[in-house]
């Protein structure tokens, strides 16, 4: 599979602080790539390097197989986490200006902006100043500014912050449509549920180092830990309370019960076959639910960060 972006051994040092330490990963073409990490891990530094806002102190970056050059600026769209536009400039004029800075001609810019303004339902705001717009409206303008030059790589830093749920969904659909049209998307976010929903690949940066990367399904596979969710209607709760902890390492040790039903999670030890475990459980009562717990991105994130911390 072709890679839209290859980050190779990138290093960035500010004074005596290392912001990125030998970070390498590849973003496949047409993927939605989640770039995760706690605050201050180095995500913004990396994004700024990809955008050629700052230069790395080591390593290189390939965009569609070519070493990153100034001309590639026009092939990347970037929506920073800290949103910003000129407050006292008219929306339309401002968008044309920013589009032309990205290399579009004036007529091209107008055409495309017309299309996007209609599409997102803000066509009436062309001649309004930005400060007259609501926050959600300004976010839509920001989104248009990011995508209007039809770049092959789109980088969104916390794309959904500031949107109400309806508009967040609208933008999500637009992003997925852009992917379907051939663009590659990089997402930098703390909102794990949106990663779960949209990303097919992830990379996790913690304390300047890349600690995890790959296809989301592979990562999850790797983090499967024989955890199961169980619901049991017991005949004798006391016996169950005694036996379960000793045999199944319940995780966490919290048995919650409604009437006679017990809901709990267990971790089945390596040396116990699943059917054997299942058999033991049925002896304790009537088994109403048994399923594997696939780790969420959130769990993986917290686990990895704590482990590395």
């Amino acid at each position: 599979m072709d890679n839209a972006l290859e980050v190779q051994h990138i290093k960035k040092i500010y004074g005596d602080f290392t912001a990125l330490n030998d970070v390498s990963f590849s973003v496949p073409k047409g993927s939605v790539y989640g770039l995760l990490g706690p605050n201050g891990a180095g995500k913004t530094s990396l994004i700024r390097i990809i955008n050629q806002i700052t230069m790395p102190d080591g390593g290189k970056i390939l965009l569609n197989g070519e070493q990153l050059q100034p001309k590639h600026i026009e092939d990347i769209g970037y929506m920073p986490e800290e949103r910003g536009l000129y407050k006292s400039m008219k929306v339309g004029e401002q968008c044309i200006y920013l589009a032309r800075l990205k290399g579009l001609s004036k007529t091209e810019a107008k055409e495309r902006l017309q299309y996007w303004f209609d599409r997102l339902g803000i066509e009436g705001w062309w001649n309004k100043k930005l400060q007259e717009l609501s926050k959600g409206m300004a976010q839509k303008v920001q989104f248009i500014v990011t995508v209007m030059h039809e770049p092959s790589l789109l980088i969104f830093d916390e794309p959904f912050s500031g949107f109400d749920p309806v508009n967040a969904n609208l933008i999500k659909d637009e992003i997925l449509k852009l992917r379907d049209d051939g663009a590659t998307i990089i997402f930098s976010t703390h909102r794990m549920e949106s990663v779960e929903e949209m990303c097919d690949h992830i990379a996790l940066i913690n304390k300047s180092n890349l600690v995890l990367q790959g296809k989301l399904s592979d990562v999850k596979q790797q983090y499967r830990d024989r955890n199961y969710a169980v619901s049991l209607i017991c005949m004798n709760n006391d016996m169950a309370f005694q036996q379960i902890p000793s045999e199944f390492n319940p995780l966490p040790i919290e048995l919650s019960g409604l009437d006679n039903t017990l809901d709990f999670q267990i971790r089945i030890p390596e040396n116990v076959e699943i059917p054997v475990a299942l058999n033991k459980l049925t002896h304790l009562g009537e088994l109403t639910h048994f399923s594997e717990v696939i780790p969420s991105v959130n769990d993986i994130f917290i686990q990895t960060v704590q482990h590395n911390g």
Binding site: I73, Y86, Y97, V145
Partner: protein, 431 residues
């Protein structure tokens, strides 16, 4: 290059379309003229109410007849009372003052003025002159010399000032040069401060509105910096040209409608009227015409651009280093001190001796040369190579300063929420 042009255009239009800019450009010349007229008018009302001044003449000299009441001074003649009584009466009646002439055997011995106010030197001297003239005549007559004969034989030549090529100037010449140079230097300083601040605010605005990150992901920060400084300077030039045109129109209207009198200080109108001798007036006009106006305008333009670019670079760096305008104070010192120094050197050293060491040295130092050299130019006699090398030094140093400023700018614009100090700035320079 296309992108740089786009940025310049945006910065220019953004400044020029701004309401404050439009108001400043068209209204401030009117305000200026209005203030001048207002001052003139206020001065004329000020002298409307006549001051009451009592006179007690104890001599036989009939000095009292010298004092005729006018619009400004009303004289009350006291007679036959003692000095003490006159002082008490004047105080009680709340007169402005009392002129007292004391005598021995009818001849003037002492001349005093009593007042709780502080009368002007001119006023006191006019009293002295009147009385002394008359007393002198009387004493001359007493010894048998006719005062009119003395007046006839008296020689009173006025010194004619001209330069070595024979062009005549008035005694006002030096003053006109000081005024012209001073005005040009002061205007330049104001322009640098106003437009430098404008650039700085615009940098802070982009930083706080966070649009900076979008812009620098499209163009190199150095382009944005150059574009911003250039666009703003063009706005400044536009304003200056409009002022010159509006000023010229107002001046033309003023001279046609009010005549030349409109430009003389109304407070001195009566003094001027006496002294007004057409040939003198012509010399003054001639002096103004002889100022190197074209040279001054061209130099003003070149020094304005140079001085502005130099200071604007510093202003840009300051804007990039802070998060809001209130934090700029600590960095303002290196901007304000050289400007102030230039103005003071201009007003004291240059006015005193335009070719003195201090004046010459400061007209070469890039931070002060635009103002100081501009103040020296009206005095003439500055070789073209002096001006050229001062300009060259200025423009070379702009490149150096702009490069340092660009380093700070590049890092500062992406630094949020961090209090910056001098040490931090030094670190940025070394990244």
């Amino acid at each position: 290059m296309d992108k740089l042009w786009l940025i310049i255009k945006r910065e220019y239009l953004n400044k020029v379309r701004n309401k404050t800019f439009i108001v400043m450009t068209f209204v401030s010349p009117l305000i200026f003229v209005g203030v001048v007229l207002l001052i003139g008018w206020l001065t004329s009302i000020n002298s409307d109410t006549a001051r009451k001044i009592a006179i007690l003449d104890q001599t036989d000299g009939d000095f009292i007849s010298l004092f005729e009441s006018s619009d400004r001074n009303e004289y009350i003649k006291l007679d036959g009372i003692s000095k003490e009584a006159a002082v008490a009466a004047s105080k009680q009646a709340d007169y402005y003052g009392l002129i007292l002439m004391e005598s021995r055997d009818g001849a003037l011995t002492d001349l005093s003025f009593y007042s709780d106010d502080s009368p002007s030197k001119d006023f006191l001297e006019s009293i002295e002159d009147k009385i002394n003239d008359k007393a002198t005549s009387q004493s001359l007559e007493d010894v048998g010399i006719s005062p009119s004969l003395i007046l006839e034989r008296k020689i009173d030549k006025e010194i004619q000032v001209q330069n070595f090529s024979g062009e005549k100037t008035s005694k006002m010449s030096g003053w006109i040069k000081i005024a012209t140079g001073g005005a040009a230097g002061y205007l330049l300083m104001m322009f640098i401060i106003i437009y430098g601040n404008m650039v700085m605010r615009s940098v802070i605005e982009e930083k706080t509105s966070r649009i900076i990150e979008i812009i620098v992901s499209s163009v190199k920060p150095i382009y944005l910096m150059i574009g911003k400084i250039t666009g703003t300077s063009l706005a400044g030039i536009t304003q200056f040209i409009i002022w010159v045109i509006v000023g010229f129109i107002l001046l033309t209207i003023g001279t046609t409608f009010f005549g030349v009198e409109a430009f003389t200080n109304p407070a001195n109108a009566d003094v001027m009227a006496q002294a007004q001798d057409m040939t003198k007036m012509e010399l003054v006009i001639n002096d103004i015409a002889q100022l190197p106006i074209l040279k001054l305008l061209i130099c003003f333009f070149i020094y304005f651009m140079g001085g502005y670019f130099l200071y604007a670079s510093i202003y840009t760096a300051i804007g990039a280093a802070v998060d809001n305008e209130t934090d700029t104070q600590q960095f303002m010192l290196p901007v304000i001190v050289p400007l102030m120094l230039a103005i003071y050197v201009g007003f004291f050293s240059v006015m005193d001796n335009p070719h003195g060491t201090v004046a010459v040295v400061f007209s070469y130092i890039p931070l002060t040369s635009p103002i100081v050299m501009l103040m020296r130019i009206p005095f003439g006699d500055i070789a073209w190579w002096e001006i050229a090398s001062s300009m060259l030094l200025l423009y070379v140093s702009i490149i150096g300063v702009a490069m340092l400023a660009a380093k700070i700018y590049r890092i500062g614009i992406l630094m949020y929420g961090k209090k910056t100090n001098w040490k931090e700035l030094y670190k940025w320079l070394r990244y």
